[in-house]
């Protein structure tokens, strides 16, 4: 445990160190050092502008992720349980998965405006396909033996779905949630970078346009950190809810 933590810190130091050094080499004036960027980060934390920005960005993101999770798992469950429904609706989500939905985003925002609803919609169309498909897959492939066991011990249909099928599918569902959340993130930020001058995307665009590169890098750094925290929390939630599924070190 200690060794792995040590190595993680060491590699982080390595990366940030490399950043610092390359910032000092006059390769490009647009490449500030690590320290400069962190200072800028500190500044926008202190003056609160980062929190205002995230309040804007996170609203549609969280709402969109929440809706996508509930709807996505619900539809996925139905897809996994009903062959007819699977035939009917899976192709739509398969297409959405493979299609470059990102191209639609600027259009959607332009047409339907900069309000919360359209941003939530953007997050949803980015996040839902993978959640639905993963859930559907996992539910459909629940081991027959364990479903039979539920039936043998007199489980009702509802019992079998809630107590057996869903927990059994949870690792794959959570993997889908992680991918969905990151896709939703991409959607939210893309919308902000491309069209709407709001949120953290605005900080990035604005600071870039005035040449304030340290702030731009700071904002981007904060997004990555936030995404990592989000996804780690998802993992923690999964471990808490379904402790037995974690069979130790899982290599992806």
């Amino acid at each position: 445990m200690n060794r792995s933590l040590f190595l993680k810190i060491a590699s982080a130091l390595l990366l940030f160190g490399a950043w610092e050094i390359s910032g000092r080499i006059p390769v490009s004036f647009a490449f500030p050092t690590f320290v400069e960027s962190m200072t800028a980060l500190f500044v926008i934390i202190i003056d609160g502008s980062i929190f205002v920005a995230y309040a804007d960005t996170l609203q549609p993101l969280l709402l969109g992720v929440f809706i996508s999770t509930i709807l996505g798992i619900g539809i996925g469950l139905w897809v996994g349980l009903s062959e007819k429904f699977d035939w009917f609706i899976s192709p739509i989500f398969i297409v959405m998965q493979a299609a470059p939905l990102a191209a639609l985003i600027p259009l959607l925002i332009m047409v339907y405006g900069v309000d919360l609803a359209s941003k939530v919609f953007v997050v949803c169309i980015m996040a839902m396909p993978v959640i639905v498909l993963n859930t559907g897959n996992a539910v459909r492939n629940t081991p027959i033996s364990i479903k039979e066991m539920g039936k043998a011990f007199l489980g009702s249909k509802k019992d079998i779905i809630l107590k057996i099928i869903l927990p059994s599918s949870s690792p794959i569902i959570f993997a889908g949630l992680r991918l969905g959340v990151s896709a939703g993130f991409i959607g939210a930020i893309l919308a902000e970078l491309k069209i709407t001058p709001t949120g953290i995307g605005d900080i990035i665009s604005y600071s870039r346009s005035v040449g304030d590169y340290p702030t731009m890098y700071a904002a981007i750094f904060s997004i990555i950190v936030l995404a990592v925290i989000f996804l780690n929390s998802l993992e923690k939630i999964e471990n808490y809810l379904f402790k037995g599924n974690n069979k130790g070190y899982i290599s992806d």
Partner: protein, 257 residues
């Protein structure tokens, strides 16, 4: 030593057939299972023994014929029957005690009550101390004990066991067979036991139904009696035991591909 009281039939299979498309898994099978005894269904692969067991359990519908359990017709699983699965069918995300109590949980028994019942049976099958462990932390033999404890916890009259010991190693299997004999003496239930191992069948059973495939039928019923009173260690050396095993093997040998 065990005498069949012919008026006490726990499970009665009458003219049961089961078809999968054109394949006849079971054809017109009739068999009685006496109360309070262990009857084995023994036979080579494809003779329909697991199919029959699942029909009795209510997990599969028969194509024709009927099954009566304590006089009542079987249409679906019921509280009078409990199943032990060949591949254990444990929920990997749940602890041992939750797995064992699952049957009671599905019946709506409240948590404290069902956990104390589960506790007893966990102890009975020799897993005391492992209540909060997870299936992946247990060996194959231990996992099957969990499955057994789960089936015992619901206190059904009839215990259906689908090759319960085939997925564990040989030594564990022998131990299980010995434990099963002791269990039968304690629990006054009817056991229906599917196996493909001749030694196992002769060792544990009060009566053995030998099933043959294509078409699946009961070819004979053997009631080993002479060595039932012996202790678990001596049975495997008993000459009647060895004779019956040999006899069964000779008649089954032609059916093995």
């Amino acid at each position: 030593m065990s005498e069949t009281s012919s008026n006490e039939i726990a499970v009665s299979v009458k003219n049961v057939s089961k078809n999968y498309g054109e394949v006849e898994a079971l054809k017109n099978m009739s068999l009685d299972f006496p109360k309070g005894q262990l009857t084995s269904l023994l036979g080579p692969s494809g003779c329909g023994k697991t199919t029959l067991l699942k029909i009795i359990a209510g997990l599969l519908p028969a194509s024709s014929g009927e099954v009566l359990v304590n006089g009542a017709k079987v249409t679906s699983p019921g509280p009078d029957r409990a199943f032990v699965f060949q591949d254990f069918a444990l929920m990997p995300w749940a602890s041992v005690i939750r797995n064992v109590a699952f049957g009671l949980e599905l019946r709506g028994v409240n948590k404290t009550e069902r956990e104390s019942v589960a506790q007893k049976y966990i102890s009975d099958v020799g897993l005391k101390g492992f209540e909060n462990s997870f299936p992946h932390e247990l060996s194959g033999g231990m996992r099957q004990r969990v499955g057994l404890a789960r089936a015992l916890s619901v206190n059904a009259d009839v215990l259906l066991m689908d090759e319960p010991f085939s997925a564990v190693d040989e030594q564990t299997r022998r131990k299980f067979q010995e434990d099963l004999l002791n269990l039968i003496k304690v629990e006054k239930k009817t056991f229906i036991f599917v196996t493909h191992s001749i030694e196992e069948a002769v060792y544990v059973s009060d009566q053995i139904a030998i099933l043959l495939p294509r078409p699946s039928r009961v070819s004979e019923i053997i009631k080993p009696s002479g060595f039932k009173h012996k202790d678990v260690d001596s049975i495997r050396k008993d000459s009647e035991y060895l004779d019956i095993v040999d006899k069964i093997w000779k008649s089954l040998r032609t059916y093995v591909q």
